[in-house]
Amino acid sequence: MRRLTEHDEAEINSILSREDEILPSSGFTVSVMDAVRREAASPPPIPFPWKRALPGLVVAGLALLLILIRVIAAIAQLGKAATPPLSMSMPPVPPPIFHGGLGSAAIWTMLALLVALVSVKLSMRVASGRM
């Protein structure tokens, strides 16, 4: 690529500095002011209801923490079970979280569904302002 000479640069400057000016259309100011007035007349955005949501958030946070602790504990158990030399003849021991069988899984599922239902209902009540 050829380097720019001073003459080239001056020429580009000269061409690009002479760009024609356009004028806004006659109704531009009115149109902008209409939009500004509409903006001014519209109600301010509804702030997030922190006061109402805070208890729910705290409960959700605690629940998450509990689940996290359980998961970490389960992983630790799994690690302990996997540490002894593996025998090809022995099936791996499942972690205690799987000990309950189908009955336990059904209870956990029901509990999860219940928590989901309660949180949906709660959020709907918060959104409709009935709380």
Binding site: R2, D8, I12, I15, I22, F28, T29, A35, V36, R37
Partner: protein
């Protein structure tokens, strides 16, 4: 762009005190520069007015955020530039490839006036600027819009002056390499 800074400040204070109509003074003072700046970004008259209107609306919404240590126009141009750049990233303007920029034919009609030749050349150079990669195009657009003031252009772009200078240099070099014939055409008379 010779509007009085004190007029802007007075109008801003009145708007912030609840007088929405005072914003009209700001619109009247800055509508032509803001529409022209938008036009240089998109080369579409209708779209440039839409973009300028959105810039004014954003300025109205964010008026309280204007720190008075900067001149109002600097703040307004930075806000508008930011909006125009993101608008064009969202919906790019119709551009032609730099390779497709038509260079002036070598065999021009003998009776053609020198002004026509110069006009064609200017148009081709502007189209070539429009076809540059965004970072060079934006630097060149702002630089020439602000009367070749690098400091103001860099404030509008929110970039260090050194970066803007480097982009200007590179942008002009690309232009020069893509349009060698244009810039060697006998020099036009200054308008």
């Amino acid at each position: 762009m010779n509007a009085s800074a004190s007029d802007d400040q007075t109008d801003v204070e009145r708007v912030l005190a609840g007088n929405v109509s005072a914003f009209e003074g700001i619109v009247r003072r800055w509508q032509t520069p803001l529409v022209n700046l938008a036009y240089r970004f998109c080369h579409d008259r209708g779209r440039s007015e839409d973009m300028a209107q959105e810039a004014f609306l954003r300025a109205y919404r964010g008026l309280a955020q204007w720190r008075k240590e900067a001149v109002f126009s600097t703040w307004l141009f930075a806000l508008a530039t930011n909006l125009y750049r993101s608008e064009l990233r969202r919906i790019p303007a119709r551009t032609v490839s730099l390779e497709d920029i038509a260079e002036p034919p070598d065999t021009r009609p003998a009776d053609r006036h020198q002004e026509d030749t110069a006009y064609d050349r200017d148009l081709a150079v502007r189209r070539a600027v429009f076809a540059l990669p965004a970072k060079y195009r934006e630097a060149l657009t702002l630089f020439y819009f602000h009367d070749m003031d690098v400091a103001t252009a860099s404030r509008s772009l929110g970039l260090p002056e050194g970066t803007v200078k480097a982009r200007l240099f590179r942008g002009r070099e690309i232009l020069r390499s893509k349009l060698p014939q244009l810039l060697t055409v006998p020099h036009l008379k200054e308008a």
